[in-house]
């Protein structure tokens, strides 16, 4: 399952969707809205996406993971719109026969997602300012 959604992420349903009698291991990763970045305080995040391309890139990532590890099932859901502190922005579940594979595939998927999938977040800082997060860009 690959999904972009404005709704709260049901990670329980996502996890159930990857369980299998062929799997000995399931790894679920959740990204959640953290309050502190250094000494700056976040009050909310807004996520935007180029949805058509983001879904295509997520499908590519799934194919890459399946080529590298004996993945049984994988599911990735990314939330868009306005998120409050503690909300889940991304959930990613993967099942494999053995545990090392599940950890490696899960970490690969989230690491790659953060580099190649066209989704952006805008910080809403506690001082009332907002700021798009664009790694490597200093403006």
């Amino acid at each position: 399952m690959i999904l972009l959604t404005h709704d709260i992420i049901d990670y329980n349903a996502l996890t159930e969707s990857v369980r299998s009698n062929a799997a000995g291991a399931v790894v679920l990763f959740l990204g959640t809205v953290r309050e502190l970045t250094g000494d700056r305080r976040t009050v909310a995040l807004d996520y935007d996406a180029y949805s058509q391309m983001a879904e295509a890139k997520l499908a590519e990532l799934e194919a890459e993971a399946r080529a590298k590890w004996p993945v049984i099932q994988v599911g990735i859901v990314h939330r868009l719109g306005h998120l409050e502190l503690g909300d889940i922005s991304v959930a990613l579940a993967v099942s494999t026969p053995h545990r090392q594979q599940a950890f490696e595939a899960g970490q690969y998927l989230i690491d790659r997602l953060k580099v190649v999938v066209p989704i952006w977040k805008k910080e809403n800082w506690s001082d009332g300012t907002t700021e798009w997060v664009h790694p490597g860009v200093t403006t």
């Binding site: 180029y50 983001a54 953060k114 999938v117 066209p118 989704i119 952006w120 790694p135």
Partner: protein
């Protein structure tokens, strides 16, 4: 040739538009999009060199040729997750 370009995130905010039409030379390549955006939106200058450009749903490089009707998008580095 005229090319419609989608803009996202800070690029969209700086341009004040989520979609712009650009006049490009015939047989234009992705590098020409960068040049046209710089001219039309001087306020986008600090972003121009780091803008990512996609054609269809694939990342393109400055040499990638463009054709009329292509789905072109420009955006700064991603930060999902």
């Amino acid at each position: 040739m005229r090319i419609a370009v989608q803009l996202f995130a800070k690029a969209r905010d700086l341009a004040g538009a989520s979609r712009v039409e650009l006049n490009l030379p015939d047989a234009a390549r992705v590098a020409d999009v960068r040049v046209a955006l710089r001219q039309r939106f001087p306020q986008m200058e600090p972003l121009i060199s780091s803008l990512l450009v996609s054609v269809g749903t694939e990342y393109a490089n400055d040499q990638t040729p463009l054709r009329v009707g292509a789905d072109v998008a420009c955006f700064p580095p991603v930060s999902g997750g």
